[in-house]
């Protein structure tokens, strides 16, 4: 029995050649090229924003959906990487790529230090402590005006050069799409790896994992650092998109928004987070152009999801497809 057939027979495999991811990749390429070529800068930047938030949401899904760690402080890594990159580029005049690499290192080291403390707790307590830790960073960004610019943030970050200048909205979208594709592939491989299965085991039954010989704490620490890395990638892309970083990048509002993206899309599915991010950006930007009460609409949509698709959009669609297939048989 070949590897792909075997994977299907066992019901757990997701071979690289499965039709859905291939179709998803093809759609991404077509959409990105079409948007970059034909749409004006504003719409192009909206699609760029969707991809950046999708990376951010998928990174949180590694914690929330796969490991069962409900974080409400994920913006800490997003903002930490963005602030560190901006500070190093502006104050020390480091080249962008070096500043970005060091910014990512800051996010990962930050996750390591945060979680030395946070992983002493679980469930709601973990949620509270991640919230508290991220609020510490947020208040630092607001109050340490000399360094962070306070509420005004740090403007004036030039977009990087990668052989060609990445200034135009279309070129920047293509670059972000490439980073998105690589990030998705890496996270997708991770969740299907032995490490990824161990994370699922931890989510389901931590005591049983220990009794099987898993060092649960090490897994949680490592996945927190991986998640922080990708949140940092998203933060740096966001910084470059806006040429600016402010306290909003470290705020509880951003942490809550990304958590909603994961939950609406379907936690523990990775790709559901992409849907969540797209839906969020659409709701935020499109609905706000129709009505001033756009937050009301966004809230109503979340309530509808909580009532009718509590497991998230992707799971809802999957269940509908399964039941319609069952009926047609």
């Amino acid at each position: 029995m070949g590897p792909i057939r075997m994977a299907r027979a066992s019901g757990w495999g997701e071979g690289l050649l499965r039709p859905m991811p291939v179709a998803g990749g093809a759609i991404l390429v077509v959409v990105v090229l079409a948007v970059a070529a034909f749409l004006p800068a504003y719409q192009t930047e909206l699609v760029t924003q969707m991809l950046i938030y999708a990376i951010f949401a998928m990174s949180l899904d590694l914690l929330v959906g796969y490991t069962g760690l409900p974080s409400l402080g994920h913006s800490a890594y997003f903002g930490l990487a963005a602030y560190a990159t901006a500070l190093l580029a502006l104050k020390l005049a480091l080249p962008f790529w070096l500043a970005a690499a060091l910014g990512l290192a800051c996010a990962v080291i930050g996750a390591f230090l945060f979680n030395l403390l946070a992983l002493r707790t679980a469930r709601a307590y973990y949620l509270m402590i991640t919230l508290a830790l991220s609020q510490v960073l947020w208040s630092l960004a607001v109050s340490w005006t000399d360094v962070t610019g306070g509420d005004n943030g740090l403007p004036g970050i030039a977009r990087p050069v990668l052989g060609i200048r990445l200034d135009g909205a279309g070129v920047w979208l293509v670059f972000v799409a490439l980073v998105f594709a690589v990030s998705t592939l890496v996270m997708w491989t991770l969740v299907r790896s032995p490490f990824g299965y161990a994370l699922r085991g931890i989510r389901e039954n931590e005591e049983r994992m220990k009794a099987l010989g898993y060092d649960v704490w090490r897994y949680k620490l490592l996945v927190s650092m991986v998640a922080a890395f990708f949140a940092g990638v998203a933060g740096i892309l966001f910084l470059s998109l806006n040429s600016f970083v402010g306290p909003q990048a470290l705020s509880i509002a951003l942490s809550a928004q990304v958590l909603l993206m994961v939950l609406v899309g379907a936690a523990g599915t990775l790709f559901g987070s992409i849907f969540g991010a797209v839906a969020f950006v659409l709701l935020q930007n499109v609905v706000s152009s129709w009505t001033e009460r756009w937050l009301f609409v966004v809230g109503a949509v979340y309530v509808l999801f909580a009532l009718f698709a509590p497991a998230g959009a992707l799971v809802w669609v999957r269940e509908r497809l399964r039941s319609s297939r069952g009926r047609s048989r």
Binding site: P3, M6, A7, A9, S10, G11, W12, G13, E14, G15, L16, T189, L190, R192, S193, P194, F195, G196, Y197, A198, R200, G201, E204, N205, E207, R208, M209, K210, A211, L212, G213, Y214, D215, V216, V226
Partner: protein, 252 residues
């Protein structure tokens, strides 16, 4: 050689001594069954041996090594496995995934994140072979939470065996099973290779006496009787405990 030596183990919860100066040894290949009424200290002893809780006094030795201060996963890596009184599986995952997680636990690839698990041929084959051996292959895609209780108990024992332990701790494996299922799980325990020593808590005395090479009876945190199945069946101390709490000789 003793696989397990428990020396003068005491565990107090506040002023209450759940276990009081208990010493017990399990020889290589031995099947030792712990019996006693509820609250006798059997599960406390298991949790101490397994490392879930720390002792107030005393020490625990596994194959000649003092493991008293080691965390649970380190004890498992040294050859100890356990099942739980209340079924403890990965309910939201399939039977295959449960087995996969158990099988890869002690393999060198368990920390790998750069290749899909499906690419590790040897583990995949091991999972398949194990599930076929225990006649569970046809259930491989079923979510564990949807399985019957009897199958779940069976799977719990199989997961514990995946780490190829030298010492297997079975915490009431027959609890809640029908007579037929009890016979089935008893047969599984009896069929275990003698390279695996077994320390088992069991309330079903009929099954306990059938499996045990030696039986240790606990009462109120202390050992009150220890001997072969025949010796214990007639021990006065045991008669006293069980006439206080129920009948002797069958299901208690």
């Amino acid at each position: 050689m003793n696989v397990l030596s428990v020396r003068s183990l005491t565990r107090a919860f506040g002023g209450l001594k759940a276990l009081d100066d208990v010493s017990i040894e399990v020889a290589t290949g031995e099947r030792r069954v712990l019996i006693g009424t509820n609250g006798a200290g059997k599960t406390t002893l298991f949790n101490l041996v397994n490392g879930q809780i720390a002792p107030t006094a005393g020490s625990i030795w596994l194959m000649g090594e003092d493991i008293t201060g080691l965390p649970v996963h380190e004890r498992v890596r040294r050859g100890m496995a356990r099942t739980f009184q209340i079924t403890s599986l990965f309910g939201g995952l399939s039977v295959y995934e449960n087995m996969l997680i158990a099988q890869q636990a002690l393999s060198p690839q368990h920390f790998r994140m750069t290749r899909p698990a499906s690419h590790f041929e040897a583990t995949r084959e091991e999972v398949r072979a194990t599930l076929e051996q225990w006649h569970l292959w046809h259930l491989r895609d079923e979510k564990v939470a949807t399985l019957s209780y009897g199958v779940q108990r069976q799977l719990e024992v199989i997961l514990a065996l995946a780490s190829k332990p030298r010492l297997l701790l079975l915490d009431e494996p027959m609890a809640g099973l029908s007579v037929e299922e009890t016979h089935h799980v008893t047969d599984i325990v009896l069929a275990l290779d003698r390279s695996i020593s077994v320390l088992m808590i069991e309330h079903d005395l009929e099954a306990a006496f059938r499996i045990a090479d030696r039986v240790t009876a606990l009462d109120q945190g202390c050992i009150v009787a220890d001997g072969t199945a025949d010796e214990i069946r007639n021990a006065a101390a045991l008669q006293r405990i069980y006439t206080r709490g129920g009948a002797l000789g069958g299901r208690s």
